[in-house]
Amino acid sequence: MLKFIIKKLLQMIPMLLVISLLVFIGLELTGIDPLSYMVSPDMAGSAENLERLREQMGLNDPLFTRYFRWVSEMLRGDFGYSIVSGTPISQIIAVRIPATIELALLALVFSTIIGVGIGIVSAIKQNGIIDYVGRVFAVVGQSIPQFFFGIILIQIFAVSMGWFPVGQRISPGGNWSRIQHLVLPVTTLTLSMCAVLMRYARNTMLDVMNSDYIKTARSKGIPEWKVIIKHGFRNAMRPVLVIICFRLPMLIGGSVVIESVFSWPGIGTIIASSVIAGDMPVIMVTTLMVAASILVASFLVDVFTALLDPRVRLGD
């Protein structure tokens, strides 16, 4: 198992290199002077000074040399500077990543519990009340624009009732205020994720419950709950987990609009404002982060699959 994990981790390296190369080339193609994002604005100065810097930093070197230098700088934690605000990108990200992860993970946990739970129950009681309500709810959840739902929540619970703050992440007041700030954005994000998960969990579970080995299990005379949990759910878990893992990058990227609605100081808002301002370096680095989160997700998928499926675990 350890060998398997190491193998999978090593496989991620070439992928990361390819993605970063793409990002680097993209950055080159935008035609923005690299100096503007590689040097802190305070250090810039006269034109000659810039030219000397350019030579010093090897910006006239061939593309690949510069690429590898860029990568090694990134590995040392130097992501360059925002061309709009002049702040180091590493600083921007360090502040915003925790906020986004907090939001994304909470939404992931809640939507998994609710979505998978309802999905499985609707599959077992197919065409029952829960199934019917769940199916309608899933379509409705997929049809309301996320941000509209968020605004409704703000209007009702923040503006009218005054139970929760309107936006931002933390206002003075410690942990309690932190939770208060989280409730509305997490609810919004959870709702929109639930819909998809519910559908998927239901259909997967239905497939599994119609398979032959479920009939075999029943023919042994074991109680129905054991059939459902031990034989049904155990087999439905793998495909469902795959979807959940791939939700992770979706959550980080997909929360752009939600973060804007709630002025949540995460990666999403920085992406949105960078796109508006044309701050390419920041966009590229955040894109790289999202790409990295996809790799992490697919790594998790591989590990879960191996844990849950003997064919993968024991095969070669």
Partner: protein, 341 residues
């Protein structure tokens, strides 16, 4: 032979499926008796309702199925004590029905490839039923029994094989595991639903021999579902021929093979290659196709494909006639004989 020697007796079984708010009848007024320590074969083309019949008996049916029967009596024999259960009155997944699945009725399904749960070790899957029905048994004892069963069924190297997963087994070995799973609680009745269809011919023969020896040595009663007349000839004591959800002919093996009476049975036998067949004789096919059960008209279901079809054949329900003792045929060609139900 007294009536308690009938281990399973089904009377007027009707099964239908609800599809698109329409009820489609799949099994119609099927009655059959399984005698203790014999093999009853149910034969017919695919889609004739033979699988649905046995699944209705053991109540393993999808939710859109409606099963009705006058009775489905099972006579449990433990030593000298005989207890009678009416399966038609039991909840499909209730406690009483579950108690019978495994220790009294074992099932072997058609496709060994998909009948085993891919994520558990085969040994654990076989032991699961044993542990369920013997709550006091330790895991060690269960393992011993599974090992013994694997040895008996000719699975090589059982000590290591019980820790393997289904994907590590070949088709024939998998089917032995499935048989082990059905036999582990030592059931009275084994229902085998096309147990060898998915296997290749040499493996088929091995598996059938295995089942035959289990039956004769341990006095099991077997219901064998198949469309293979060759298997029927080897295995069966009595034969039910089904067509479109009805039993069209019933009799002993000799009755069916020496004196096939229903035009469908005759056609079925003519379409099977037999050893010693005269040279130059062509295998026949049955003309026409099996009709769609949703579009069946009244009268004999076989009428459209029958060479002897007459006008009366298209009216009402065709009764069964007893052409010789114990040999019943549902065909108007024999209406000079005594009508039976």
């Amino acid at each position: 032979m007294n009536e308690k020697d009938i281990v399973l007796s089904v009377k007027n079984l009707n099964t239908s499926f609800i599809s698109d708010r329409k009820e489609i009848k799949i099994v119609k007024n099927v009655s059959l008796d399984l005698k203790r320590a014999t093999t009853l074969a149910i034969v017919g083309e695919s889609g004739c309702g033979k699988s649905v019949t046995v699944h209705s008996i053991v109540k393993l049916m999808p939710k859109n199925a409606r099963v009705k029967a006058d009775y489905i009596l099972y006579n449990q024999k433990r030593g000298d004590k005989i207890t009678e259960f009416d399966l038609s009155k039991l909840e499909p997944y209730g406690k009483e029905m579950r108690a019978l699945r495994g220790p009294d009725i074992g099932m072997v399904f058609q496709d060994p490839m998909s009948s085993l749960n891919p994520v558990y070790k085969v040994g654990d899957q076989v032991a699961e039923g044993l542990l369920e029905h013997n709550p006091k048994m330790s895991k060690e004892e269960a393992k011993e029994q599974v090992l013994a069963m694997f040895r008996e069924l000719g699975i090589p190297d059982p000590e290591n094989r019980i820790n393997d997963f289904p994907y590590q087994f070949s088709g024939g070995m998998k089917q032995r595991v499935v048989i082990a799973l059905a036999m582990i609680c030592n059931p009275e009745i084994i229902i085998a639903d096309e147990p060898t269809t998915a296997l290749d011919v040499t493996i088929q023969a091995q598996i059938m021999e295995l089942m035959k020896s289990l039956q004769t040595e341990k006095n099991k009663s077997i219901i064998l579902i198949t469309h293979n007349m060759g298997l029927v000839a080897e295995m069966a004591d009595e034969v039910c021929v089904m067509y479109m959800g009805r039993i069209v002919e019933f009799g002993t093996l000799e009755h069916i093979f020496n004196n096939p009476s229903h035009p469908y049975t005759k056609a079925l036998l003519r379409s099977v290659p037999v050893l010693g067949m005269e040279e130059g004789r062509l295998l026949e096919t049955i003309p026409g196709i099996t009709p769609n059960p949703a579009e069946l008209k009244e009268g004999c279901e076989f009428a459209d494909r029958c060479p002897d079809c007459r006008d009366e054949c298209r009216k009402g329900t065709i009764p069964a006639f007893e052409v010789e003792p114990g040999h019943k045929v549902r065909c108007l060609n024999f209406n000079s004989f005594k009508e039976v139900d």
